[in-house]
Symmetry: C2
Subunit: 150 residues, 2 copies
DNA sequence: ACGAAATCGGATGTCAAGGTCCAATTTAGC
DNA sequence: GCTAAATTGGACCTTGACATCCGATTTCGT
């Protein structure tokens, strides 16, 4: 239902939020999020163009959040890589009823709207702060220790 | 977010519900739902195997609903062609926390759960019966007249 | 100024989704 | 029994998602 690319983008952003405000290299992010480094690179480029993360080239460069976690919603991340396309007109292309969706497509769009609303209401900060037995992104804490040790 | 195949399956089922209890040929369904006939054939085969529709070969054959619209939910149709895969374990494969999802994946799974619940609660009969300016499936009424005229 | 470290961008490869085509099979009706 | 009408299943094609690779470029630190 959600593409792998969306998964990868959310993992990366979660990891960066955890590391904020420091930057992390694509290699580090890939290792921590268990994503193929070369592909993650492309995903991060997309997030960069969308203004979700910012990049710094060269020595001691890497990726970091473009905004504070409190100002970044899950929806923005999702829409940056693969926009949720709401149904606004009849997919069958019938002009017989203009903007009014038939009951079937209304239901489908309602489902999209629910997801959209849920993601819009959730900030990265909320995800990171949520008390839980499992740390965000699973083993990000282990990685954090590893990075801190360097 | 939802695949084309899911769209096609829902359109076909909506059309068949509208025509119920009579059968319709793949050609008729394809024309009414604006789907490529050859591909719709494959989709219908899947629905048939899943027990959502039933097929009748030969002269005066075609496709019809396997159950009454009141007994068929949107979720069943969706799951027949492309099951909604809830997140049950950490996608990163970390065994460090067993069945407990991290906050990120919890949110994603919550979204999936909402969609699943909405689709489970909606029967085909409800979709067909809903009062609206636009008939279900857009121009199904036009098609109905055409079929009735034969 | 130089070199190492990092992103950027383009070319390429792989695989599943979406889509087509057709011969084989089944079946109602004459 | 024959024929026309319909599904079935398999082979095939096309496109986009996922993924890899590498040379070019930028930039920090010495």
């Amino acid at each position: 239902m959600f593409s792998k690319t969306v998964e990868y983008a959310l993992r990366a952003v979660a990891y960066l939020g955890y590391a904020a405000p420091d930057a992390r290299t694509t290699e580090q992010i890939a290792a921590a999020t268990r994503v193929a480094p070369a592909y993650l690179s492309k995903v991060l480029q997309g997030l960069c163009r969308a203004g979700v993360v910012k990049s710094q080239r060269g020595v001691r460069g890497g990726m970091s959040l473009a905004r504070r976690p409190e100002q970044l919603t899950i929806l923005e991340v999702v829409n940056a890589v693969e926009p949720i396309r709401r149904i606004t007109t009849c997919p069958l292309g019938l002009k017989s009823h203009g903007v009014h969706l038939c009951p079937l497509h209304k239901r489908i769009d309602d489902a999209l709207a629910m997801v959209e609303a849920a993601f819009r209401q959730t900030t990265l900060a909320e995800v990171l702060a949520e008390p839980t037995r499992s740390p965000p992104l699973c083993d990000v804490s282990i990685d954090r220790l590893k990075v801190a040790a360097n």
